[in-house]
Symmetry: C2
Subunit: 230 residues, 2 copies
DNA sequence: ACCTGAACACCGTTCAAGT
DNA sequence: ACCTGAACACCGTTCAAGT
């Protein structure tokens, strides 16, 4: 789906390939990356997908690295808003964390690519500002508020990275089942049973976020509860 | 440093290269990976390092993938013990988290490689058992204890992955300094100042661990405080 | 049993040449 | 302005041939 393109060839149509566009290249590349990851994006494969010579791509985007740069820039610019929901600051912070996780999960390869290109701060700025407002609403200021912002950001990004790694390698070899017989569980069969089951990363995430936020707000002044400002 | 090798060539020494050993190959490969990451481990480069033909390596290790397999297996087997320290379960759990982080940081490329090979569970088993004992000491059992184990593990692994990404891309382009002028900070100059400074990942980590553990143990029964069993 | 070079199918990238 | 094929220097891997 190249969308619209400017037709610059003068032969009045016919079977000739319509002129190649930079946007067309980016669309095709984005599609490949989204489906199979950055490693699957080869210049030759991309050319084949587009039906052009490899070297034409170089004319439009320079080289593979700047192609990836442009891709990341475009994706970051297209990320949606982050809107906190919930009745207490704690819930609203947790909702920001969940929204952030969803954004990152929708672009599974984005985080690593963004980091590699030093765009992290720009990418997270909206979420950070939402978190700042909620930290203020919870009565935290200065360094304490910054702590909340960064702890939540690291937790979310870290979780997404871990989840991505887990999904790429679904078959665990010794298998948690064999490892967590009753013997290793310090005499707690219920725990052994839970740990022998495959992890539900979503549950771990929500539980972690809840615990982290609770811990971060624990010693906060009791003023300014309820829905935040703005 | 090939260490000891069995001399199987019959020419009685001289300038001929001593027989190539599987261990020698693994040592050299481990060195390359530790210094420059798995991507820098090329069969040709490794052969050059060892002073042999590329194809000799194939005789000893099969192919690149099984070479990496063997490498990971060896590294995982060589990981040290995890010994909790501290006077309360909360502190002891935090100490396990810190020890785990240190182990992973000492082998910067290990996590991803281990995950890709499905060895995660085997690798984390010792830390998990330590965490189980401490969760029990804190009065948590069953699913609640499992929650602690998994939340801590995800937090640590996630943090290490984030840190690794950050270290690979030190130069952030818009720069946190420009982004966090007083305007964006919701009228909190102290916070703006903190966020404009480069992050200290170690501080974020210790703060996050402390908050997470506090949140996880919050509603725990007040029995069984003080140093754990074992 | 162990090592070798030649060869194959892949990469990204450059360059001179076409229209 | 835009596209092309040929060529270069890299990959991992296989194979027949050496000792």
């Amino acid at each position: 789906m190249p969308g619209k393109y400017v037709c610059t060839n003068m032969d009045g149509g016919g079977m000739a390939r319509p002129a190649l566009t930079r946007d067309e290249v980016l669309d095709s590349a984005a599609d490949l990356v989204k489906r199979h990851g950055p490693a699957a994006l080869t210049m030759r494969g991309l050319a084949a997908e587009l039906g052009t010579a490899v070297t034409s791509i170089y004319w439009h985007v320079g080289n593979r690295e700047s192609l990836l740069d442009a891709l990341v820039e475009r994706t970051v610019a297209d990320l949606g808003e982050i809107r906190p929901v919930g009745r207490t600051p704690a819930r609203r912070i947790a909702s920001v964390a969940r929204a952030l996780r969803r954004q990152l999960r929708d672009h599974p390869h984005l985080v690593a690519m963004v980091h590699e290109r030093g765009l992290t701060e720009r990418m997270f700025l909206p979420a950070q500002q939402a978190l700042v407002r909620e930290a203020h609403a919870a009565g935290l200021r200065g360094a304490r508020a910054a702590e909340v912002v960064r702890a939540v950001q690291f937790l979310v990004v870290g979780h997404v990275l871990v989840e991505r790694n887990r999904e790429r390698a679904p078959a665990q070899r010794p298998g948690e089942q064999e490892l967590w017989g009753a013997r290793t569980a310090d005499g707690d069969p219920a725990l052994a049973r839970t740990l022998a089951w495959p992890v539900d990363p979503e549950k771990v995430f929500t539980a972690s976020v809840k615990a982290l936020v609770a811990g971060l707000l624990e010693a906060a002044p009791e003023t300014a509860r309820g829905p935040g400002p703005s």
